[in-house]
Amino acid sequence: MQKYDVIIIGAGPAGLAAAIYTARAALSTLVIDESSAGGQVKTTDQVANYPGFAEPVAGHELAGNMRKQAEKYAAELKLAADITDLHLSDQEKWVELDNEDKYTAKFVIIATGSSPRLLNIPGEQEYKGGGVSYCATCDAEFYKDKDIFVIGGGNSAMEESLLLLQFVKSITVIHQFDELQAEKITADKVTTNPKVNILWSHEPRAFYKKENKMTVEAENLKTNKRIRLERDGIFIFVGLVPNSAFLKNTPIQLTKYGYVITDPQMETNIKGVYAAGDIRDKKHRQITIAVGDGTIAALEIIHKI
């Protein structure tokens, strides 16, 4: 079993910020991520509200710089590595990866963030990339002058809809409530566009595909009646879910929504185990806040070691 001072699970902004601090403090630091470094930032087209960049910076560039900075100070990264076993207690902490290597540390920071929520309905996975999309920036041009659905009514759904409107002939928004949850200024831009109509109080139950046409079977949440509507494509933007499934067999306390509960110093109910970033139970989720969380967790560890 290889020993480190700190193991950080998750290589997004929170995990990398923590790694920069612990590695600069000469603590041996291992960062593990099941994917590549950068978390959700790397899938963000442009970041315009991160201090220090007068002009918007590409998300992948910001993420890449965070990774380089952590590695510059000798943080060790194990990427595309799946955790197959995990033990977190006050006395002992270790992680086993899919290559059967085992790592232990006195301190662990959980920074696994969150991921786009899936609808988990029939047809969603089957037609991903073949009629079902999660990114307007990437796939809007495939739907030039076509009719599409947008599923969701929050900020991301409306912001992505504004981009889609530059390409498509029409958008039918399917939303589970009677009003949009997005900020009014953005929502108004979408709802006043003549190319947009909204199916209120409906939720998709299944997607079907025939040739190049997509059908949504949607249920009216007030009457429970189901209807089928056909368009050319479906874009899904229905929020985020915490990446905490790997913690379910540990004693770490989670909220009913799966977020990790911490004290203001980012420590969980297990001594020496911290959580930082979007995985943590809190009101606001931003890159800057994730970086702050990671910094606090790292400083707490540096002072304790």
Binding site: E34, K42, D45, G59, Y134, C138
Partner: protein
């Protein structure tokens, strides 16, 4: 031009050479977009884990990408990137849109085992 650390495929000849001269090859054809960049990153990481597999990327907007776009297996693809796996000169798998590291590893373990 894609800004990645992968070797780029820039012509039909390069693609043909890659497929003909390597038992296992994977090509990720996309742009510098949010759904594509994670797959390039995963390819970069997996190069070390799968040394017998050749990983390349290809700009979706260069003329040579017409070969990928025109593949029968990519008909009905409406999500970038298009990721193509070749074994012994034959296309054995094609995926559309973003893939997680776990999904890419699963495809490699399935088609290149």
């Amino acid at each position: 031009m894609l800004q990645t650390n992968l070797e780029h495929i820039e012509s039909e000849e390069q693609l043909k050479e890659l497929i003909e001269n390597n038992e296992k090859a994977a090509v990720c054809c996309g742009r510098m977009g949010p759904m594509c960049i994670p797959v390039y990153d995963i390819f970069e990481i997996l190069q070390e884990k799968y040394p017998d597999t050749q990983f390349r990327d290809m700009d979706f907007d260069i003329p040579a990408a017409a070969v990928i776009k025109g593949l029968p297996q990519c008909r009905g693809f409406f999500g970038l990137p298009f990721t193509i796996y070749y074994r012994n000169g034959k296309l054995v798998k094609a995926t559309s849109s973003i893939q997680t590291a776990k999904q890419v590893k699963s495809v490699i373990d399935e088609v290149f085992a």
